[in-house]
Symmetry: C2
Subunit: 206 residues, 2 copies
């Protein structure tokens, strides 16, 4: 750790290192069989250090999800703001979601598999952040509907859930099947075509 | 239990009762926190009886999945065989998948949430049955492509994963959100439109 970094940055580094170690351990062993001691060892910190940042193992999983979804939403919102065509925006969102998982297979495994450990967990913690992501997608759909490019009878929320689910399904089969990143990229392009053509208004601009 | 039923049927009844009890308990407590003793109590059988039919808790979860997916595939294949239009076939598959979960919320919860307990589990046990379902969908897509109704550049397998994923995503948000069955039915109709219009060849028959 650089001497020049302040207390705040140093502590953030450690927190981030613990989160990254958790992703690795959860992906390898599954959430229930993972032990905090093993996460500490992987992160290169003392067991007790983890409890300075996180209450327990649940809190680690929640923090991975919340941090990564927030980063993803920030990045998606920034990229989408620079585009005008709603169809192009959807294509970019799809590329970004599948790009993130293709580059971080362990994270993909934690988000598609381990995160669904219990209904209580999903309802209580994951739902608010997850809704932020769905709202971002739904806003693009609504914009396309207002511009007359997307069919108005489709609920933007249902479209957002379908898009998220389709990508999650492709990620899941990719994670289970151990295909290479190129395969997921090709699937992303096909899924984008299906979903965008699926919502495009008949006679709308291409 | 009726006196007239033979040994075979009686034993199948008990097996089925245990499976139904497992679905209830897994949905309520989550897979890891569920105990075989509680499943036995819910099924109205002695703890030891469960081990006459199932090796362990893992085997119960696997059996729920395998039984229900097989039933679903049999029903889907029978229904689809009676239709000629591939788009109509896809719509029927979507209605059936979401119809099953709308009628059996506990089962929906187990299949969308508890089933993803670990990567090992999914790879080793769920993948073969899951592939049977994906193949059924992919065959309909291929038929539509051969008839010139569906766009040929979309991989049938990618479409099948996207369709399954979209429905799984809608089911997940429905299970978490506790909406009524009617809401899921409306979402099913919208998802069908998105996916079918998404694969329909431009200028193809409607």
């Amino acid at each position: 750790m650089a001497k020049a970094t302040g207390e705040r940055t140093r502590s953030n580094d450690k927190r981030e290192r613990i989160l990254q170690a958790s992703v690795k351990v959860f992906a390898r062993k599954g959430f229930y069989l993972s032990r905090v001691a093993e996460i500490a060892k992987t992160a290169g910190v003392a067991d007790g250090t983890i409890y300075l940042y996180f209450k327990n193992k649940d809190h680690l999983l929640i923090s991975i999800f919340e941090d990564r979804i927030d980063e993803m939403c920030d990045a998606v919102e920034a990229q989408v703001a620079g585009l005008t065509d709603p169809a192009e925006k959807l294509r970019r969102i799809i590329d970004m979601q599948l790009g993130l998982v293709a580059e971080h297979r362990d994270l993909a495994e934690v988000l598609t598999i381990n995160l669904r450990q219990s209904t209580r967990f999903l309802k209580q913690f994951a739902a608010p952040k997850f809704n932020r992501y769905l709202d971002t997608i739904a806003a693009v759909v609504q914009e396309g509907q207002e511009k007359g490019l997307f069919r108005k009878e489709i609920s933007p929320r249902v479209f957002a859930c379908s898009l998220f689910g389709a990508l999650d399904g492709l990620t899941l089969t990719w994670v289970i099947g151990r295909g290479d990143a190129g395969r997921l990229e090709k699937a992303a392009a096909a899924a984008a075509t299906i979903l965008i053509e699926g919502i495009r208004a008949r006679g709308g601009a291409r």
